[in-house]
């Protein structure tokens, strides 16, 4: 939202120093995004008359101009513009001038002929964002003077404000000026309004049918209008505020809106003299001012010419092309209405048409702003139409839905309770009065009436915020709450951090791929897509599915790194997956996945062991349940009873081939919602057994069909309570061992809990182990 310092200063005697104003705006929550000084006279630019113009045969696109800057010297200037004629008075930037854009005017030439300056457009003088050629001044302008002075151009400052959603009132200068006047302790005058000569009473009829959508509609009858150009200052201010000058009537209407935040529309009263406001009929259409034919929706609000019920405006959004005022118009019907915000917003959205008016209506305008708007409109128009007449008895129709001033009270104790600072009741009342809240002190309470231009204030806390803003956030002070809570990580959070430390300790990098997948990403790697959730409005089609596994993202990262000359990397992610559930929300859970390109099943088992150690957890390895998408003979599920808590092994080589990933890829996935939430009890210490221990080595030949862990389990059981540890220290396949079998060598350390191990006990244990092995088909090797 652009705000001009000149307009603010007409409304209140705020400081002229733009820095001071910007500081105040920021401290009031009206954040200044940009501050631009405009209309500063450019030193060295003077008015000059074009005495004659010549074309050069070798330079078709430029014209040679010979100009007189009033000093009796004829200067030659090359000029690329085409809008000038001989005799025109134009701005000349003389040699040595520094233009607003930083360009230096030096003696330069084309075809060996120098230019002794530059003729300027409005853009080049920093007066406008657009222009269609040189700035042409009136013919009677004296030569050799500053064109800024000659045109009475104001030096001004444009503040671009980043307004928050609540401050509807600040979409007009008046709202901003009100806050600033309160801040600087000066009186708010508001826009200048000339004492208006009232013409005879004239009430143009208005009928509101859509009472809920249009809660108030006013029509002011104005006559004695001559449509023509706007005064320069009006066009200039509009340009600074980002609007184009059209004619004196439209410009006055726009400027009034920018000044007072009251959108308004001027109809030719000889064309539309009675109004009806109703919802559009389906099938109805309207050609809006921008020339577009709009098919109307049954919820669009339509302003109609009551005489034939034809639409003359899409209410709150844009007027209709055919009822636009013409050059011959002399009588105006000026509309100022209050429309319900939401329907205007939907209407603007439906038609993809956010106009200056709709932006204001959808935030909430002042239902009582119409009268000031009409008077200001006539005041502006008076400069170009000295005979303009504002007729008495304007028509104002309000419905039961029209917002009313709301009584709200605020107490000293509530302010102190919320802000932590005690502010005197008189100061509270003073602040609220200064921003237009009618305030009355009753004991420790200020009873207020919220003005209708502040739709954001409806309860005590809203008023406390106003008090805080104007009291100054910096004056509130800084205290620290007396907390009885002590800060800490939860058990789960501590375990998650421990897990991260294990992972980086294993040399693995954390990755954070996008949780969005494309359709087919999961099935391509062997996972189901039956339980996926889709985004209703994805950014791109490739990111339309919520992941149910971390694997696709990490595989993509591996592939990406392989194609950037990093063939072997280890990455992991701890992140959420979102499979569909029978509830409203998915079965969201936290998972860990580790993938290592160039790693194999042993890599992933090593990782699993490290995690088990660090977190005191465990699970069974179930090779009988090969997880989807994994290598069929080198993978297993991590199980706890029937529950699967993870997978370990390698990615299916078929999948890797399809993805174009080279070498093996190890994978370990763990459901952290299980593992991290466990709270293992502290391990209880055992005394060191100081009796001597003995090792026995036992080698068995066993079929590959039987898992090695079965043998280990059998031996553990057979050795009984004397077994201190058991390690598989050698695995051998090959010569001397039958095909399909392998030699498994275990070392058992035995120790008596009390006393010394005897040879006969050792022999006994050995015998039991041999027998246990045989029972599951493992033959002891001699």
């Amino acid at each position: 939202m652009k705000i001009l310092l000149s307009i603010l200063r007409e409304m209140a005697d705020i400081p002229s120093d733009p820095e001071a104003v910007a500081l105040a705006l920021n401290s009031l929550g009206l954040a200044v995004e940009e501050m631009v000084v405009v209309g500063t006279p450019v030193e060295g630019v003077v008015t000059a008359r074009i005495n004659r113009m010549e074309k050069h045969p070798d330079a078709a696109k430029v014209t040679r101009c010979f100009v007189d800057a009033g000093d009796g010297v004829e200067r030659h200037v090359w000029c690329g513009a085409t809008n000038m004629s001989e005799g025109d008075v134009v701005p000349l930037a003389t040699l040595g001038t520094t233009m607003p854009n930083g360009m230096n005017i030096a003696r330069r030439g084309i075809l060996g002929i120098d230019s002794e300056g530059m003729l300027c457009s409005e853009v080049e003088l920093g007066l406008s964002d657009e222009s269609s050629g040189l700035l042409i001044l009136p013919k009677d302008t004296p030569l050799g003077v500053s064109p800024f002075e000659a045109l009475g151009i104001e030096h001004d400052v444009v503040f671009d404000l980043d307004l928050t959603r609540n401050r509807a009132d600040c979409w007009g200068h008046l709202g901003v000026a009100r806050d600033l006047a309160a801040h600087f302790g000066v009186t708010l005058r508001g826009p200048r309004v000339d004492v208006i000569t009232l013409g005879g009473a004239s009430s143009l009829p208005v009928e509101i049918i859509a009472e809920e959508n249009c809660a108030s509609f006013s029509i002011t009858h104005i006559s004695g209008v001559t449509v023509g150009e706007s005064p320069r200052w009006v066009a200039q201010r509009l340009a600074h505020l980002g609007m184009r000058s059209i004619n004196n009537v439209v410009d006055a209407s726009n400027l009034v809106m920018l000044e007072t935040n009251q959108p308004n529309h001027a109809y030719d009263a000889s064309v539309v003299a009675s109004f009806r406001i109703r919802l559009a009929h389906s099938g109805e259409s309207l050609v809006t001012l921008d020339g577009q034919t709009r098919q109307l929706h049954a919820e669009d609000l339509l302003i109609c010419n009551a005489s034939d019920d034809s639409g003359v405006g899409l209410a709150g959004v844009m007027g209709d092309l055919h009822s636009e005022i013409a050059s011959t118009t002399t009588e105006l019907a000026l509309e100022s209405a209050w429309f319900s915000p939401d329907p205007i917003r939907y209407s603007a959205q439906r038609h993809g048409l956010r106009s200056e008016a709709s932006v204001r209506f959808e935030r909430g305008t002042d239902p009582n702003g119409w009268s000031l708007a009409a008077e200001r409109f006539v005041t502006i128009l008076k400069e170009t139409c000295p005979n303009v007449v504002l007729h008495a008895s304007p028509t104002v129709v309000s419905t039961a839905y029209c917002p009313q001033p709301i009584p709200v009270q605020v107490s000293v104790s509530s302010v102190e309770r919320l802000l932590g600072v005690r502010i005197e009741v008189s100061r509270i009342a003073e602040i609220l009065s200064s921003i237009g809240f009618e305030s009355r002190i009753e004991g420790d309470t200020v009873k207020c009436v919220v003005p209708t231009w502040r739709p954001d204030c409806a309860q005590e806390v809203d008023l406390i915020e106003e008090v805080a803003r104007h009291f100054g956030f910096d004056n509130i002070g800084k205290t620290i709450p007396n907390s009885t809570v002590h800060g800490r990580l939860s058990n789960m959070q501590q375990r998650r951090r421990a897990l991260r430390r294990v992972l980086v300790g294993l040399g693995l990098d954390e990755a954070m791929p996008s949780p969005f997948l494309a359709a087919g990403d999961l099935s391509r790697i062997g996972l189901t897509e039956d339980n996926v959730l889709h985004l209703a409005n994805p950014l791109v089609a490739d990111e339309s599915i919520l992941r149910t596994s971390l694997r696709p993202g990490l595989l993509r990262s591996l592939k990406y790194n392989q194609s950037h000359r990093a063939p072997k990397i280890g990455i992991w992610e701890i992140g959420h997956v979102y499979p569909k559930s029978s509830q409203q929300l998915p079965d969201e859970s936290e998972q860990l996945a580790i993938l290592v390109s160039g790693g194999d099943v042993e890599t992933s088992l090593m990782q699993w062991n490290a995690i088990c150690d660090a977190l005191s957890v465990g699970a069974q390895l179930d090779q009988g349940r090969v997880p989807a998408g994994l290598h069929a003979t080198r993978s297993a599920s991590l199980t706890r009873g029937k529950k699967i808590v993870g997978v370990v092994g390698e990615i299916d080589p078929v999948v890797l081939d399809a993805l174009g990933i080279e070498g093996r890829v190890s994978v370990l996935e763990i459901d952290l919602s299980v593992i991290l939430n466990e709270e293992p009890k502290p391990v209880q210490a055992r005394d060191i057994n100081r009796f001597p221990s003995s090792d026995i080595d036992l080698a068995f030949v066993m079929s590959d069909e039987v898992p090695a862990v079965n043998l280990q389990r059998a031996l553990r059981q057979a050795a009984g309570k004397r077994l201190v540890r058991i390690d598989l220290f050698d695995v051998y396949r090959g010569k001397g061992v039958a095909e399909g079998s392998r030699n498994l060598a275990f070392r058992l350390r035995l120790q008596e809990p009390e006393g010394t191990l005897t040879d006969s006990i050792l022999a006994e244990v050995q015998q039991a182990c041999v027998a246990a092995g045989e029972k599951i088909g493992a033959a002891i090797r001699a």
């Binding site: 929550g29 919320l418 509130i476 709450p481 990098d509 209703a536 409005n537 929300l585």
Partner: protein
């Protein structure tokens, strides 16, 4: 004492002398072992003398000689031990010499093969933030990333069709009731869940992943991270909010940094503010938003605004990481490109 000039005495002295010379002449541990066993063995000079003692008739003399023999053995053993020590030192010196490596060469190959993994910059920033807030007495709450409209908007004082909802470009999840499930646009829904689940007083931060329908560029990602803070207690004021932001500023950025609050607007807080951090050089960082929890939000969380009051604040984590490490493009941070990742030890 009997005379020491018996032949036995002389023989013994001679044997010790000869033995010591032989021991000291041994040039390897192996040779030394042979010499020592020859000296002290059954056929050694000392043993020979010892076995001849039986022929000495004088009891006193025999006793004395016996003692001398033992002393001779002890002294020879000591000489042997000392020689052995000398020899081992010499022998290890050559072993050590043959072990020589070029440390820089080993260092280079160690660096090539043994690298500690990296935490993602966002995780590093999150942990640092968590640690600072833990120090300030906060606990850490977490919530789902796929949320209902209620938690993401409605409970935060944005009833259906509230215009402020347009402050966030929301990604919706397809569901039976269109629009009812969203990817959370901020971490604020966790505020409501915490209010509902934790008995007050509440001092909590809520870091996590959030989503917006935004095309990725150097400073925006559709998936990014925020941290939210919520304090609910009796008598919590705006001054407490300002003081907590100030404590955090000093704890996280350093003593030379200060903070300020500027009025702003969020539907879920009132008064609302933006908070800025002032660097020691006087420049400002616009960090995030904050404010006093709106009474409607307290009620949505099941708390009575007459009894409890509180404040909330929030800001982006990604930006903290970006600024700390001078990352120019957020997309690099999410590329998982090892060339980027490995920089940050």
């Amino acid at each position: 004492m009997a005379s020491s000039s018996t032949p036995e005495h002389q023989q013994l002295a001679q044997a010790v002398n000869d033995g010591a010379s032989a021991i000291n002449a041994a040039s390897t541990t192996e040779e030394l072992r042979t010499v020592v066993s020859a000296l002290t063995g059954k056929k050694g000079a000392i043993s020979t003398i010892k076995s001849s003692l039986g022929k000495v008739s004088d009891v006193e003399m025999r006793k004395e000689l016996g003692q001398l023999v033992n002393e001779a053995l002890t002294s020879l053993q000591a000489i042997a031990d000392s020689r052995s020590q000398q020899l081992r030192v010499g022998e290890f010196a050559s072993v050590i010499e043959s072990d020589r490596v070029d440390i820089t060469e080993v260092a280079m190959s160690a660096r090539a093969t043994q690298r500690r993994g990296r935490l993602h910059l966002v995780t590093q920033a999150t942990e640092r933030l968590e640690d600072v807030f833990i120090g300030l007495g906060f606990q850490i709450a977490e919530g789902p990333e796929v949320e209902t409209d209620f938690y993401n908007f409605e409970a935060l004082n944005m009833p259906p069709s509230h215009p402020a909802r347009s402050m966030w470009d929301t990604l919706f999840v397809e569901s039976d009731e269109p629009g009812s499930v969203v990817l959370r646009t901020h971490t604020s829904p966790v505020q409501i869940r915490v209010m509902q689940d934790w008995p007050p007083p509440i001092y909590a931060i809520m870091p996590g992943r959030v989503f917006r329908k935004e095309t990725p560029d150097a400073t925006h990602m559709p998936v990014f991270h925020q941290i939210e803070g919520l304090v609910i207690d009796r008598g919590i004021t705006f001054a407490d909010l300002a003081g907590t932001i100030e404590s955090f500023t000093k704890a996280f950025f350093g003593e030379g940094f200060t903070s300020r609050l500027r009025p702003s607007y969020f539907p879920f807080t009132e008064p609302s503010a933006e908070f800025d951090i002032r660097r020691p050089d006087g420049s400002w960082i616009e960090l995030g938003g904050c404010g006093m929890v709106h009474p409607h939000v307290l009620r949505a969380g099941g708390l009575d605004p007459a009894e409890w009051s509180g404040f909330a604040f929030g800001f982006g984590i990604d930006r903290m990481a970006k600024e700390r490490h001078g990352v120019n493009d957020l997309r690099d941070m999410y590329s998982d490109d090892v060339r980027f990742t490995e920089q940050f030890s």
